[in-house]
C-alpha cells in the first residue's frame, strides 16, 4: 500500500491575476488626460508608468482607467506636456 502523495498545495500557491488588489482605479484623485495633438508617442510615460496601464492603440495613447491609480508620474515625465492631471469629480 502506498499513501497518496502530496497533491494539494493550493494554500502555498498564488496565481497571476490582473487586479489582485482590486479595481485600483478607484484610488484615483487626479486623472491623467492625454492631449492627442501634443502627444508625440515617445513612450516615455509607458516606460515610467508604475502601474503598466498605458499602451499605444491605433497610434494613440490609451490609459486603462480601471486600474490607473492617478499617481501623476506620466504627466511629470512627459516631455511634450501632453498629459494633464485633472481632479476627479465626486
Amino acid at each position: 500500500m502506498r499513501l497518496k502523495m502530496l497533491n494539494d498545495v493550493d494554500y502555498l500557491i498564488s496565481k497571476p491575476k490582473i487586479g489582485a488588489a482590486g479595481k485600483t482605479g478607484l484610488w484615483r484623485q487626479f486623472k491623467p488626460v492625454v492631449d492627442e495633438k501634443a502627444c508625440k508617442l515617445c513612450k516615455v510615460c509607458i516606460l515610467y508608468c508604475p502601474e503598466n496601464v498605458i499602451e499605444i492603440v491605433n497610434d494613440q495613447l490609451k490609459i486603462d482607467y480601471e486600474y490607473c491609480k492617478g499617481c501623476g508620474i506620466c504627466s511629470n515625465v512627459c516631455i511634450s506636456n501632453a498629459i494633464k492631471m485633472v481632479e476627479e469629480s465626486e
Binding site: D10, Y11, I13, S14, K15, P16, K17, I18, G19, A20, A21, G22, K23, T24, W27, L47, Y48, C49, P50, E51, N52, V53, D64, E66, Y67, K69, G70, C71, G72, I73, S75, N76, V77, M85
Partner: protein, 279 residues
C-alpha cells in the same frame, strides 16, 4: 510585463517601476524577502507577478536563490534567478549576501533601495540617507550609510552596477548585461519612495533624477575588474543638492551646516569613484 496592473503598490511606487527591468531577462525567477515587494507581489491566492516568484524568510534571499539556481542547474534547467532585495540586504541579510558574493554564486541580486524599512512604517536602515528622519530616527539618522555595491565589487565578482529608477534605459541596459554574465551579479537601484520620503507621488522619477544630478546617488559599473562611472553621472554637474534635499519631508529639517556636511561626504564618494576608475 512582469508586474500586473491592479496590484497593491502605493501611488508612484519606485519598486513598481523597477520591476519592468525584469522583463528583459530570459527565464527569470524572482525571490523576495519580507518587504514592500512582498505585498505588491500579491496576497494569496492571487499573484501580481507574471513570472515565478518565491517568497522567503527575511535574511535568506541570496542563499535560497543560489540553492534554487544550483538545483535547477543539477536538473539541466536554465534560469536567471533574481534575489530581489530591499534594505535588509545591508542589515539582516548582510552576511548571507557577502557569503553569496564570496562564492560567486550564479544569481542576480537586485537591491531596490528606498533607504528605509518602508513596509513596516519607515524605520531607519543601513542604507538610510545621512541625517534623514525616519520613525526610529525622529531627529535624523546619525549613523553612516553602507555602500553595499562598492563592497560587493571588492569581492571581485563579475558584475556590479548602481542604477536608478529615474534612468530606466540605463537600468534596463545594466540588467540585460547582468543577464548575459555567469556568476554573482549585483545591481543597486535607487528608489525614491513618495510616502516614505515625503514627496508627491508624481515626483518619484523627478526626485530620482535630482539625486543623480547632485550626485547624492552616483551611477557606475564594475565589470572585468574595471570601475567605470556611468555616462549619466559623468554628465551630471553635481549641483542642486539643496533643492534635492529640501524637496523631501525627511530632510527638510537640515540646517545649512548639515547640507554642507552632506556635500563634503558626497564629494568624498565622488573622488573615491574617480580614483577607482583610474585604476
Amino acid at each position: 510585463m512582469v508586474l500586473l496592473k491592479g496590484n497593491a503598490s502605493c501611488q508612484g511606487c519606485p519598486h513598481s517601476i523597477a520591476f519592468k527591468a525584469l522583463s528583459y531577462l530570459e527565464n527569470p525567477i524572482v525571490l523576495m524577502p519580507a518587504g514592500c515587494s512582498t505585498v505588491i507581489a500579491g496576497l494569496h491566492p492571487n499573484s501580481s507577478l507574471e513570472i515565478p516568484c518565491v517568497h522567503v524568510p527575511f535574511p535568506a534571499t541570496p542563499a535560497v536563490s543560489y540553492g534554487l539556481s544550483t538545483g535547477l542547474k543539477k536538473r539541466g534547467i536554465k534560469a536567471n534567478v533574481v534575489a530581489w532585495m530591499g534594505d535588509g540586504s545591508v542589515d539582516i541579510s548582510y552576511s548571507l549576501l557577502a557569503g553569496s558574493a564570496l562564492r560567486n554564486d550564479d544569481i542576480i541580486v537586485i537591491v531596490v533601495d528606498n533607504e528605509a524599512y518602508m513596509n513596516t512604517g519607515v524605520q531607519s536602515s543601513g542604507t538610510t540617507f545621512w541625517k534623514a528622519k525616519t520613525t526610529t530616527s525622529p531627529k535624523g539618522k546619525r549613523e553612516e550609510r553602507r555602500d553595499v555595491a562598492l563592497q560587493m565589487a571588492l569581492h571581485r565578482v563579475p558584475y556590479v552596477a548602481t542604477a536608478s529608477i529615474g534612468y530606466m534605459r540605463d537600468f534596463i541596459k545594466k540588467v540585460k548585461k547582468a543577464g548575459k554574465v555567469e556568476g554573482f551579479r549585483f545591481i543597486h537601484v535607487h528608489c525614491p519612495c513618495p510616502p516614505g520620503w515625503g514627496f508627491e507621488s508624481s515626483k518619484t522619477v523627478e526626485i530620482a533624477r535630482k539625486a543623480i544630478q547632485c550626485r547624492a546617488w552616483i551611477l557606475w559599473e564594475y565589470e572585468n575588474k574595471k570601475f567605470r562611472i556611468s555616462r549619466i553621472s559623468k554628465k551630471a554637474k553635481g549641483d542642486g543638492l539643496k533643492d534635492y534635499l529640501l524637496s523631501q519631508a525627511r530632510l527638510r529639517h537640515l540646517s545649512d551646516e548639515d547640507i554642507e556636511e552632506i556635500r563634503r561626504r558626497i564629494e568624498e564618494e565622488w573622488k573615491l569613484l574617480e580614483h577607482l576608475e583610474k585604476l
